[in-house]
Amino acid sequence: MAAGTLLSRIRLALWGLVAIAIFAAGALLLGNLQEAARQGASLPGAARLGGDFELVDHDGNAFSSQALKGKPHAIFFGFTHCPDICPTTLFEMTKHLDELGPKADTLKVLFVTVDPDRDTPEHLKTYLSAFDDRIVGLTGNEKQVASAIKAYRVFAEKVPTSDGDYTMNHTATVYLFDGKGTLASTLSWEEDENTRLAKLARLAERG
């Protein structure tokens, strides 16, 4: 009888230890999460977005994702035969970069075309001349652009118009990556201007 009590006591003590271990592990994890949140946490699933690409900038020079190593950057996709969202996004971005002034010099801002057939480097250069010169236009051959679209999990499709031409449906979100290449935040078209500006300022500061 005495042996049985002893065993059940040991069992109880062991369970107690297990509980303490779980509690300690939980606290540690929570601490880490809080620390991460304080530093400006990355978004869920962030690790899967982005990746290596080889494109051509609006000056006709090769531009690879290597150039983004260690640099906070904003990247968004669009095309120049776009009547509304692309020029508006570029215009808003220009305004924000202007407001941030030299603070934004650490940021790289990339506009990747989803329409490489029509958006040649020369055409992108002309088009972007109306916007902040820190914005880099990127294009490439069809394969290069397709692989960048895939890496960033961007949606892009051609839509024929009645005149035999076409327009594009595409993801319009602006992705903000920190210097480590982790997705830090996004900007959206519906968002308040000040929110967008604050996010860009935070990204520039965070590096």
């Binding site: 969202i85 020029p87 215009f91 916007f131 839509v159 449906n169």
Partner: protein
């Protein structure tokens, strides 16, 4: 010979009368549509497309449809609808046009319905209003003048940097009620 001449004159007169009747009918219908603030905006250099916007109110008792438009600096214009879902921007040609029910107001504005000016021959410039027309299924083709807002403007009245000349331009041409 005289008979032939007489026949030609009669036919011509009949033709004119009919044209006049058709015209009068179109104008009668047009009187039920109030067209306000037709506007477009400056495009980035080299852009081949621009967007046109307008507010249309049907003050009549019969529904009409906006089926097309023209703009002097565009080879052709299509009526499109833009939508945003899950961060994806989609553009769709509105094949049957936009219905304007009696008493309804339809606003073509950034982020929604717009006229897509295709194959631009020149970029719209602030202070240089763009002549055009709106084509309705019943009211026919009505002349309008698009005021030009600056690059990035989200509306004709605000959102962009307005110059004095542009404000004047808007006053002169922006609000353009159809009175026939």
């Amino acid at each position: 010979m005289t008979k032939k001449l007489f026949a030609v004159v009669t036919l011509m007169l009949a033709g004119f009368t009919m044209a006049g009747l058709v015209q009068a009918q179109a104008e009668e219908k047009a009187a039920t549509l109030k067209i306000e603030k037709p506007w477009t905006r400056v495009t980035p250099p080299g852009a081949k497309v621009a967007a046109g916007f307008v507010t249309i109110t049907n003050t009549g008792s019969e529904a009409d449809r906006l089926v097309g438009a023209t703009a002097s600096l565009s080879k052709h214009v299509e009526v499109h609808e833009m939508s945003m879902k899950d961060g994806v921007m989609r553009m769709q040609e509105v094949a049957d046009g936009i219905e304007i029910a009696p008493g309804a107001t339809v606003v073509l504005q950034p982020g929604g319905y717009h006229m897509m000016f295709m194959e631009l021959s020149a970029s719209p410039k602030v202070g240089e209003p763009v002549k055009g027309t709106l084509k309705f299924a019943k009211a026919g083709e009505l002349p309008i003048v698009f005021a030009v807002a600056p690059l990035g403007a989200k509306s004709l009245d605000g959102g962009g940097k307005m110059t004095d000349s542009q404000k004047k331009d808007e006053m002169d041409h922006g609000s353009h009620h159809m009175k026939h």
